[in-house]
Amino acid sequence: MKFTLKIWRQETPQSSGKFVSYPIDSITGDMSFLEMLDMLNVELVRKGEPAVEFEHDCREGICGSCSLTINGCPHGPDTGTATCQLHMRRFKDGETLYIEPWRARAFPVIKDLV
């Protein structure tokens, strides 16, 4: 599967952020959403570009660390599912995905998606 990712990049809490577009290829349906971001980061590092910061830890939906707003929905489109439990089979091949941090005054952005 192929996707176009529009990811919120913001260097520091003070700086202003923007969406940056990243095409990504050879994604399989049984990859989790965060594994897709891992793959993007490995590619970015290889190209010498800064990796995308995102919060995660347990990857089984219990620690409450992961925090992405995907296409406008916190934790993405599925009900009762944290971002780390979301799998790519849920999306259509070729789709554009908007990925943002939580937006709330009480949760200031530290960097990128954190």
């Binding site: 520091t12 990796a51 919060e55 439990q85």
Partner: protein, 635 residues
């Protein structure tokens, strides 16, 4: 190396130890500062209790909140010798089961104390409001876990770790609100400061700003969890790491039995190279799920079309008295054996069925849903298969490490003032941990053991002032800076993640479920080569003075690279099999672990000897005065 086990009969040791402990008067406690690194069950419970007692406590976690610690992911339950089910449980039985479950490679005195305080843990957690499962009459209910023939496991659905951690976290936050403790979130310990041979502080990095800081204290508690993540694929959280423990090792603390790894039998199988972690399906599922594979090799029919008489319920066949609740090491090995025979299922052939059809038929779908609903939902999200209709596919995966920093009966390392709690120490589980005993140990250490023994240390030790201006702090800070500079030197290259993945493959192949002389030697060579490649090629984009998870990961992987070698050296040296450590050269005719008590009835505690030097092994002989060393039999 003095294990400081109190003299006298087993039952009286802990009482005697508490009585003989030096005390610090309530008014004097505020003069002492204790640093607690890690905020999981062991760290949070110790920090809260020490603060309640009146000590000045500083808690450090690399998470944004103490509640994220990986204890939260524990599913099945917590053991305690309450005998609420009136089925013959007792402190002595829990002690015996734990010693036997650990294949006679743990200290009797420590394990007995663990069993002794287990009942108080449940009381404490109930008082905090932990919503344990209840009977209709309002009393606490239990379920069974592997390696036991009584029901002594307390649980809160499949989220017991979460509820216990939230209990400990609430106790911690209460002390924080009362201004009895300082909380340092998003601050990672990168080194231990040793002054005059005693642990007196730490160096941390603020993960938001990159700032390096030094902190001084009278005692340092490491409750930093286990290093199972060294295998890259494990059930551990992605950030779990060995850095705090490894830094302490390199400052002189002994590392004990590093090769003792627990491979959990029921995890969701690997689907491909992209995979970043493995998800556990709680052992509690084996209360009702039946494990089987086809009798015939290469039988690729869907499970529903394989008639019952062509199925091999191999755990029930091989271990009739414990059946599907055989201990973890034994169940894992059995799964590996049937898959090696070519009878594994699924596309990779590296899986066995865990089937609930019979349980659903007898108990009804609703009952099964109440017991395991969240686990079934989790399974379906990951695999896209409905376990109410088709059997789960499971395979063993790295879950826990019994090895860890060496501690004495007081949970103090050989470095005075350094206390190590929970999974980070080696003390209670021997060569294999029984299910639902990790939560018990974390909370026992934190609530009921360390607060007494740390008081004894502070009350009975002459501590000279160790101000931050002491040269040891500047020296250690300099070492940390140099290390970060070394990690950041490459201007292009590869992400630490790829090195981590490759390290995991080497360890899983040669130091995983089965180990042998040639494989371990090969692994040591491969790890050295990989470590060289890592330092030459690891690339960290971004800045050191900002949030940078690539830098965090690279530091952790660098430590894993060194620890991996020590694990293999330890595994190579221990030529017997015991618990989760199976040396292929030492098996019974049925393929079970064959211990050699005449040669290996000891704890191997390794001491760092300097860069590039082989570590030196010290032996702590294990003395069994109460239980008879016997072959572990679950048939």
């Amino acid at each position: 190396m003095d294990s400081r086990i109190p003299a006298g009969d087993l039952q009286g040791k802990w009482t005697r130890c508490k009585f003989e402990n030096k005390l610090v008067a309530p008014a004097n406690r505020k003069k002492f500062t204790v640093i607690v690194v890690g905020s999981g069950l062991a760290g949070a419970s110790a920090a809260a209790t020490l603060a309640e007692q009146g000590y000045k406590v500083k808690v450090f976690t690399y998470h944004d909140s103490p509640r994220r610690a990986h204890s939260i992911a524990a599913q099945g339950g917590i053991n305690a010798a309450k005998n609420y089910q009136n089925d013959g449980d007792s402190v002595y039985r829990l002690f015996y089961d734990t010693i036997k479950g650990g294949d006679f490679r743990a200290r009797e005195a420590n394990v007995y104390r663990l069993a002794e305080v287990s009942a108080s843990i449940i009381d404490q957690c109930v008082a905090q409001g932990v919503p344990f499962a209840r009977e209709y009459g309002g009393t606490l209910t239990n379920r069974s876990f592997g390696g036991a023939q009584v029901s002594r496991t307390f649980y809160a659905r499949g989220q017991t770790g979460q509820q216990l951690l939230l209990g400990a976290y609430s106790a911690l936050m209460r002390q924080y609100g009362l201004k009895h403790l300082e909380l340092h979130a998003r601050e990672e310990m990168l080194d231990l400061v040793v002054v005059d041979g005693k642990a007196r502080g730490i160096v941390t990095r603020n993960l938001k700003t990159g700032a390096l800081q030094t902190h001084t204290a009278d005692a340092v508690v490491l409750a930093t969890g286990g290093y199972g993540n060294i295998f890259y694929l494990s059930t551990n959280a992605k950030k779990s790491n060995a850095t705090a423990a490894w830094r302490a090792y390199k400052r002189g603390a002994l590392m004990a039995n590093p090769c003792f790894t627990q491979i959990h039998p029921t995890c969701i199988p690997v689907t491909g190279d992209h995979q970043s972690k493995l998800t556990l399906m709680s052992e509690s599922l084996r209360n009702d799920g039946r494990v089987w594979v086809p009798k015939a090799k290469g039988d690729k029919r869907p499970p529903s079309q394989i008639p019952v008489d062509e199925r091999d319920y191999y755990l029930e066949r091989m271990y009739p008295s414990f059946g599907n609740l055989a201990p973890r090491d034994i169940a894992s090995r059995a799964a590996k054996r049937v898959c090696d025979e070519g009878r594994g299922v699924g596309s990779s052939g590296l899986a066995v069925y865990l089937d609930f059809a019979d349980a659903i038929r007898v108990q009804g779908k609703e009952t099964i849903e109440t017991k395991y609903g969240n686990l079934f939902a989790m399974y379906e999200k990951i695999t896209d298969e409905n376990p109410y209709e088709v059997p789960m596919r499971i395979y063993p995966a790295v879950h826990y490490v019994m090895g860890g920093l060496w501690v004495d009966y007081h949970l103090m390392s050989n470095l005075p003032g350094l206390f190590v709690l929970g999974e980070a120490n080696f003390s209670d589980h021997g060569a294999n941990r029984l299910g639902a005993s990790a939560l018990m140990q974390g909370l026992a250490d934190g609530y009921f053991v360390a607060p007494y023994t740390i008081g004894n240390y502070l009350g009975g030790t002459k501590l000279a002032p160790a101000p931050l201006s002491h040269e040891a702090f500047a020296g250690t800070l300099g070492d940390v800076k140099a290390r970060i500079a070394l990690l950041s030197k490459n201007k292009s290259g590869t992400s630490a993640l790829e090195f981590h993945r490759n390290l995991g493959k080497i360890l899983w192949e040669h130091c995983g479920m089965a180990r042998n002389d040639a494989g371990l030697k090969k692994a040591i060579g491969e790890i050295k080569t990989l470590r060289e490649a890592f330092w030459e090629d690891v690339f960290i984009p971004g800045s050191e003075t900002n949030m940078n998870s690539e830098l965090e990961l690279a530091g952790r992987v660098a430590d894993f690279m060194e620890l991996a070698e020590l694990m293999c050296v330890d595994a190579l040296e221990r030529k017997e099999s015991c618990g989760g450590h199976l040396r292929e050269e030492s098996q019974t005719p049925e393929g079970e672990a064959q211990r050699d008590d005449s040669k290996y009835c000891y704890v191997a505690a390794w001491q760092y000897q300097g860069e590039g030097q082989p570590a030196k092994m010290h032996k702590e002989n294990l003395v069994f005065e109460n239980v008879k060393l016997a072959e572990r039999n679950y048939k």
